[in-house]
């Protein structure tokens, strides 16, 4: 009685960072099988970090991801500083937030306009989109460039910046150098507001899910580097407790490690989680545009993540402007951090969601154990849960369109497959598939 069987199959997922494939088997009226295959080869960072000095770690972990190297530098640095009890200067703290603003602006703009928007508008890519929407794409490129300009000023270059260090920065900018960003940032803030309004006019499928949202929460600010890890289902922990509450599972018939909340299941990290859990911490300009475009908490439609990302660009521009206005250089770019033994954990908010690092060091400052859990590993199970529910609605669609829609559903998460160091050949066999 299962009717005809059809297969949605995408051998190379496009407009995501890294390499993955999608396989969904539809049997009659139900989804018989969902496989999100990630065939990115493993690179073993946690293994070869052992024996390296802690001062080398931020440069090495940056190379996990060319899209969000700052996230990898920040989580590594904070975890090591926690292990060693390092106290950083408040100005360094501000600069780290500014650094992250730059990464969020460029990464979110890349995703909103160049990777995700073409799905909504029916283009294969941003180049094709530019033929009909030249001004929009030019605006996007300029906005992205503002993010990259911040990163380049603080870190020397956009990809794998070289200035972030345990204890601070190798070199910090002058007040004047930051002031020179103001004009660009004011333009970027206006453009980010336009971006939020522009994304609001896209068409969204009517699709909501009951998510457990997980994000950092800080008492005074929208989260980047600090805060407790909270969820809408009562989670409220310190980074040091992360591994007690989240489990990486080696799924049957799978080579991947899936993160789940212990005793509950899949969860969502990233812009929607941050927005839903921290709306009250957004600056007024971001809250106002969210209200204007009718983006009300809690956002439960993952396709609307493109709007949430846009509102986060508004936040990042406003926050960068605030920091640039307040900045006084620290007395020294970085504090000396002596070698000592210790263990430290940290979570920071990468553009795609929380990034957990743990390091143990010996008395020479050499790494003896490292643990890295990227946002995309954490979202992986959630992406598959979305797909299983979403594919049911596409039964009557022509295969090519159904498959494009499923790709779009994956891109809702801005997955960064290169990041997911653990994830190799994900093959998820659902319970329903057992009899097939």
């Amino acid at each position: 009685m299962s009717g005809r069987t059809r297969t949605i199959r995408v051998d190379t997922l496009a407009r995501v960072e890294g390499e993955g494939a999608l396989y969904i088997k539809l049997a009659g009226e139900r989804v018989a099988d969902v496989k999100l295959k990630i065939y990115e080869p493993p690179r073993f960072f946690e293994a070869f970090l052992r024996g390296r000095h802690f001062s080398e770690v931020p440069d090495i972990t940056a190379r996990i991801c060319g899209i969000c190297p700052i996230a990898y530098q920040m989580s590594a640095i904070h975890a090591i500083e926690r292990a060693l009890g390092t106290r950083i200067d408040p100005a360094v703290r501000l600069l780290r937030r500014l650094f992250y603003c730059g990464e969020w602006i460029e990464s979110h703009t890349l995703h909103v306009y160049m990777l995700h928007a073409p799905d909504f508008l029916g283009y294969q890519d941003v180049i094709a989109m530019a033929r009909d929407h030249r001004a929009v794409v030019e605006r996007a490129l300029r906005l992205k460039k503002v993010g990259n300009r911040i990163v380049t000023l603080l870190g020397g270059r956009e990809i794998h910046p070289i200035s972030a260090a345990v204890g601070g920065f190798y070199k910090v900018p002058t007040k004047q150098q930051l002031r020179e960003l103001v004009e660009d940032l004011e333009w970027a803030l206006d453009t980010s507001l336009e971006t939020a309004r522009w994304t609001a006019n896209l068409e969204f499928p009517d699709f909501e899910q009951d998510y457990e949202f997980v994000a950092l929460r800080h008492p005074d600010e929208y989260p980047f580097n600090e805060g407790r890890l909270v969820s809408n289902r009562g989670l409220d922990i310190d980074a040091a407790e992360y591994e007690d509450h989240f489990v990486e599972m080696h799924v049957k018939h799978s080579n991947a490690l899936h993160s789940v909340v212990r005793g509950r299941g899949s969860y969502l990290v990233g812009p929607m989680a941050r927005f839903n859990l921290n709306f009250d911490k957004l600056p007024e300009v971001a809250r106002q545009v969210a209200r204007e475009v009718k983006l009300a908490v809690p956002v439960k439609n993952p396709f609307r993540s493109i709007m949430v990302r846009s509102v986060e660009i508004v936040f990042a521009c406003a926050e960068a402007l605030r920091i640039v206005g307040e900045y006084e250089p620290p007395p020294t770019p970085r504090v000396e951090v002596p070698n000592q033994a210790g263990v430290g954990q940290a979570i920071t908010e990468a553009p795609r969601g929380i990034l957990y690092h743990r390091y143990a060091m010996d008395e020479r400052g050499l790494i003896i154990a490292a643990k890295i859990i990227p946002p995309t590993s954490q979202n992986q199970k959630r992406i598959e849960d979305d797909l299983r529910d979403y594919a049911v609605r596409l039964m009557a669609w022509p295969l090519e369109e159904a498959s494009w829609k499923c790709e779009q559903a994956i891109r809702n998460y801005d997955p960064c497959i290169s990041c997911a160091t653990h994830s190799l050949k994900v093959t998820v066999e659902r319970a329903e598939a057992d009899g097939v």
Binding site: A14, A47, P69, A130, E138, I162, S254, N255, C416
Partner: protein, 262 residues
């Protein structure tokens, strides 16, 4: 990406083990991207487009190193499909940071990261593309310099040799009027043996070069290692200095092995 471009050269971008950063450089070339897209026919570039056309291609840009049996076979096929094959970045050109496995027991590495090691299929070595197939041009860097990439594409369109430096970072420091941090402050720096291309970034940010662009044309790594020793670096530190993002390039490899076994 273009269907109305019969006579433009086709470009394809392929990924092996890597962080995606080098191919992202193309999307990071905000001022040039639309121009490049107008001048060439982007036939295969999954990070940017769903439209994927089969080969052959005029220019293949290869990111990443070879770490699996499957990839070792795939690169053979891609070589046949690409008239000109260019490696972009330290992974494709020198094996990348993941080549640190080459001195270790990779099975032990797998056990560290994965709970069920028998599912993981990987080679013992992470190797550069040129160890597998002939390569027409190598762009250095971790990551590459996006201006080099634009220069490379421009040069290919014009049928000339790309103008990419092969001298050391020291020259770039001189050009930027940087005071030598090794001479003035005794900071360990790989600049004298590292190929230029970054614009002497690290010395400009008050730190020693850590060798992102790999060995320059004729590096005297032994002499530099001696200097590092005089500056007070231990054998282990010197070994680690050469075991970075270009660790498997033979000049760096040779010196790191000498100091590892001292």
């Amino acid at each position: 990406m273009n269907s109305d471009t019969k006579h433009k050269p086709t470009i394809a971008v392929f990924k092996f083990a890597s962080c995606d950063g080098c191919q992202l450089s193309l999307l990071d070339a905000e001022d040039e991207l639309l121009g490049v897209a107008g001048a060439v026919d982007i036939a295969y570039f999954p990070e940017a487009t769903r439209a994927m056309r089969k080969g052959p291609y005029d220019i293949g840009l290869i990111e990443g190193s070879i770490t699996t049996h499957h990839d070792a076979q795939r690169i053979q096929e891609l070589r046949r499909q690409c008239k000109t094959l260019v490696t972009i970045g330290a992974c494709a050109t020198a094996g990348g940071i993941q080549a640190l496995r080459n001195w270790k027991d990779v099975d032990e590495f797998i056990r560290v990261v994965y709970a069920t090691p028998q599912f993981i299929s990987t080679l013992k070595l992470s190797t550069p593309i040129a160890e597998h197939v002939p390569v027409d041009f190598e762009l250095r860097g971790c990551p590459i310099n996006k201006h080099h990439l634009i220069e490379l594409i421009t040069a290919m369109l014009a049928g000339r040799k790309p103008n990419i430096p092969s001298y050391s970072v020291c020259l770039e420091c001189k050009r930027r009027n940087n005071v030598c941090i090794t001479v003035a402050r005794g900071v360990a720096c790989l600049g004298p043996v590292t190929q230029a291309g970054c614009g002497a970034l690290c010395p400009g940010y008050d730190r020693g070069c850590y060798g992102c662009y790999g060995p320059m044309e004729s590096p005297n790594t032994t002499s530099l290692a001696n200097q590092l020793h005089i500056l007070g670096q231990s054998d282990a530190q010197i070994t680690r200095a050469f075991r970075g993002f270009n660790a498997w390039s033979w000049q760096f490899r040779k010196t790191s092995e000498e100091y590892e076994h001292k």
